[in-house]
Symmetry: C3
Subunit: 473 residues, 3 copies
């Protein structure tokens, strides 16, 4: 048996499986649109080799190392850098061996599927990873990484990626995107405007960030109007580096629509460094509505990603810093939270707001009914912990009956694990084909409709929702 089952994720009923396979054949070769993710643009600017298997597959991927940690393996032993910059374990061979010895922990998880897919389809491996073959695995992958065909740009092309969006903070100089633009390489790597550091009064260094924002834009960012103009300017700068979207990772989905006077006063309070948690929350809420208004003007798509309790473990945060696998979803409500923004701009048919959630209970209860009514709203795909076969299936089952397929936006891989991108899109395509096959088999969709919808889910919806065709805005 190959490392990956050729009919994986298809229905088990033979007739349904045949149909899913047929649908999949229509879309399996479509180019990848990756409109939301966290790859490093520097890879494609410099096109250097990836350093080694451990730094490719383990240390940057919190999906992988948190599972090992959950079973008692120390972050230190996995080569995760400490907040003070030290790295007690720096031998990638040892880290890889530890990973391989515990590979059974990933049974039943999407990580196992993504890793096996990359092992086979990127590196040509055919045996399951074990403690016994870990060293051979390492040597094989490392040897391939040394070859020109395994450089970032060459993999990008081999993966058939049409667009790859990265995510940069509002103050980023976008030098790597500029370098890619200035190069002779034709790959389309675009940025996304992520202004958390300058819209969240509780972000580290908020006041200094606002000052920097003023310097970068030549605006008086100590005034509310100057601050808003500075956002306009930065958004235009990001658009010039390919951005078609902004992204907002607030703790809640709260929005507000204050009077100008009230917003100005709140902004001054935020600048003072003395605002209460309630005021900080209200300021973030107000800024979502401001961003939506700017989107109406400049056409950037607005993405709202709420509901993650970041850095839950005080111990891990103190020793290792952010993004170490300890971000935990929380209950999230949207109905009251989004009303101010929706009352302001929700009926605008030219606006594109994409909602994500880590609280699956909101799919059917809140998100699909909202997206199935407001023209400005669409639903982002199953996200993060739910970027998985069951997670995607639950997303479709909970949303389709209320908002249909056309108020959703295709798939996001949302990853910094570059080699997992083809695997993740393949999971989405197979899972959607399985779902569509089931609809056809139960008389809820005609086969020709399923072919059309499969194409939309794999390509068309993302292209239109994220305005990637280049001629939409």
């Amino acid at each position: 048996m190959a490392l990956n089952h050729p009919d994986r994720l298809f229905p088990v009923d033979p007739a349904s499986r045949d149909l899913a396979r047929t649908l999949y054949r229509h879309i399996s070769d479509l180019p990848i649109l990756s409109p939301h993710g966290h790859c490093d643009p520097r890879w494609f600017a410099e096109n250097k080799r990836f350093p080694n298997p451990a730094e490719l597959f383990i240390t940057p991927d919190h999906y992988v190392f948190r599972m090992l940690v959950s079973q008692g393996i120390a972050l230190d032993d996995l080569g995760i850098p400490r907040a003070d910059g030290s790295t007690p374990e720096s031998d990638p061979h040892k880290i890889w061996q530890l990973f391989a010895e515990n590979y059974s922990l990933f049974r039943g998880t999407p990580s196992a599927g993504w890793l096996d897919h990359a092992f086979e389809h990127v590196f040509g491996l055919e045996e399951p990873l074990t403690a016994a073959n870990a060293a051979d695995y390492y040597a094989h992958i490392d040897q391939q990484l040394a070859q020109a065909a395994f450089r970032p740009r060459q993999l990008f092309e081999r993966f058939n990626i049409e667009v790859l969006a990265t995510t940069e903070g509002a103050l980023d100089d976008l030098r790597w995107h500029k370098a890619i633009q200035d190069s002779d390489w034709a790959g389309r790597v675009i940025t996304t405007y992520r202004p958390d550091a300058v819209v969240d009064p509780e972000f580290e260094g908020f006041q200094a960030n606002i000052a920097t924002l003023g310097e970068l834009t030549g605006e008086d960012t100590l005034s509310w109007q100057g601050y808003l103009r500075a956002h306009h300017t930065r958004r235009a700068f990001f658009k010039a580096h390919g951005a078609t979207a902004s992204d907002h990772g607030h703790f809640t989905a709260r929005t507000a629509d204050l009077s100008t006077a009230a917003a100005e006063k709140l902004f001054q309070q935020a600048l003072s460094g003395r605002c209460t948690p309630q005021e900080a929350d209200l300021f973030r809420a107000q800024m979502l509505t401001e961003m939506a208004r700017m989107s109406l003007e400049d056409g950037l798509v607005l993405q709202i990603h709420p509901g993650s309790f970041r850095n839950h473990s005080a111990t891990v945060f103190q020793r290792f810093g952010r993004d170490k696998g300890f971000d935990i979803p929380t209950q999230t409500q949207y109905v009251q939270a989004l009303k101010p923004l929706l009352d302001a701009v929700g009926m605008e048919p030219t606006l594109s707001i994409i909602l994500f959630t880590l609280d699956e209970t909101a799919y059917g209860r809140e998100l699909a009914p909202l997206a199935g009514a407001y023209p400005a709203l669409k639903l982002g795909p199953a996200w993060w912990f739910f970027d998985s076969p069951n997670g995607m299936r639950r997303f479709r089952e909970a949303t389709t009956e209320t908002c249909g397929f056309y108020n959703t936006v295709g798939f996001n891989d949302d990853t910094r694990a570059f080699c997992s991108i083809p695997a993740r899109h393949d999971v989405a395509r197979r899972t959607d084909c399985a779902y569509l096959a089931d609809l056809v088999m139960t008389g809820r969709l005609r086969e020709q409709e399923a072919v059309e919808v499969a194409h939309e889910l794999a390509y068309g919806l993302a292209q239109r929702a994220y305005r990637l065709a280049g001629d939409v805005v």
Copy 2:
């Protein structure tokens, strides 16, 4: 292929499908009991023809037009009347064409199934609706609507409806029900007591409504006891027009059981027009318990429908008014909310309280455990956004293991889309047969038990829970 798959909604596994088909054959011809809905009794009193296809299928059905709106089509272009009475687009041919051009939006939704069922089984159409055949579709349906066999009473009979409950406000004169009763037509169209306008202090015109309630009943509705007696009187009036149930659409499921003195004081506060939102909420809560006590006396079934955030879009509400597809479900809790009412009357075996929810998380966590313990409680079927194949399946899977089948009440169509009634009941019957077939195939139910349960789900439970046999109370 016919417009509707003959085995739709049955399991895909061949043996399971055979069994589901067998179960379905036992119940597919049972008469329809529709104990909760929103059809207009005037249709059956006057028995005039339905005006045209657009006014039959599109403009009255917020399931249909909100989906079109969600993709940027203006309510004005769909012939939805504005709050000021104007209707910018009034050509039903144009509205129908716009609907047909966008019919693919309904793929995967129950609306597609209901519409296709009505197109085929009511109007004899066999081709899927498209932009190209929209005009022919329109002409065909319109021509049939002109025939005597397509008048409301004739369709009622053809649909094999045994009882159809409509819903009227407490102040309604029930003239159309009286006209039906006084006619020589034998169809059973009954009313339901919906007193929101006189139990909710925040309802428009509450004080005037209370005054009208006094006039209609000859009671002093400015006194708490007179107000309660007026409800008694109106309930008896509704019973005389066939009502077997009352219905209560509060925002939450909160109940209260205040002392008479406290209730009286709160009622005076409500009458004063100066009660706070908290007091208004408490008054509604108290009235649910009062209604339950009245039900103990007069035998009306008490239906509680909480959890809808009505008229979410301020823009749409201002321009178009209520019920325009912008009612959004919210998180709803039942355990603490219902305790006062249940402590008062929950152990009464002659009381029938039917609970609905728009928050599916409550099915297994709260509603099934409550209904599986309290003799007064039963669970209404999957409601509104969840009146769908997946919604019904989730309802059964989340409730059956805890409260069984016999604490549920069969199917409600809850619709104002008359031609969808056979389709909706057919979906429920098929979906239940699929679920039962799965239980049999996995050894959780014997086939003969499944036959009996299928009959109960399609007919018996609704008849008993809603006391429709006429000899139960």
Copy 3:
């Protein structure tokens, strides 16, 4: 057909069913580990016969009698003792007949499966129970109960139970466990430390309980340090009677980590009998963290069972007392609630904290992400209302993709219905094999991996998580 389908709970697709059957054959004969339950240790100490079928199957099992009550049968008529000690109906034949006449209420519920399994596999019955054969059923079971082979110890052995944990309050003298230890019987019946009565200031008799705790341990339990030492002493006493775990049934999952001074002050407030509900809640929260710290020292596993609204019906509580089927799940949050405890000890790899929930929405949103990160946390199985085929399936589908199999702990039967223990474990094993078969059929797991995982889910995980091998701590 036998009373129980030989392929029950396996997938319906023939190839999947074959595979599930194969997996099941690998594990169906494994001994039962029952690390959490509510059987009476006296049964095994005295080894007397069970009195009669009604007292074996109906009166002690709130799953059974609450369903009958929900359909209007009086608790009095089911032989449930009143709070005042009286029992209006005491004829077990009549109670059994009433049960049999209403046996169809259990269709589709796990109770039907457990009962039928016990009827066939414990008592050799082959006909479904009906009103007509109720008397024969009774006579047959009663006659068997009179035989030596049906005594508790003999059934324990026949059920192939390797370990059975019971649950005793902190003040219990554990006399029946001592008697079992002192006997010549080799069966392993162990206790569990359940200190609710001495950690919950709102428990009836809290102050007297604290005094008794002092007497039993010789500690000054009116001082905070003496109180903590008394817990240490009692935990050691429970360990000497086999305990490997403690269990905590708080209303919420809230934890706290106060300073010693603040904890001491709060303890004095609790002792005073004047603490507010908020203070009582905080004290319980603090005690979870204290218990976790003690677990770090003495190795007892910490079980947290939050979220049940106990004794919901005031009427039933007043007339019949606790545990009468009116405990209702409520919404439960874990992310903020557990943070104080997790910040204190969550990264300790030698600690074993097992989380349960009655709020299934927490599985994927909160519990799996927490258990998939913190080494101290593991997830208990689907609990109480969700100890059912669909409940277990939802548990696996919502948790596996995030925390894998190895952050779960196998099955708990959590029952006081002794004869249902083999049935319950059989349901868990079959349901897990069905799930694993589906993963294999859809290419998400290799068959050999599934064999290994099936064994872990049925035996290995429980043995390790509950430290039952005897050589782990």
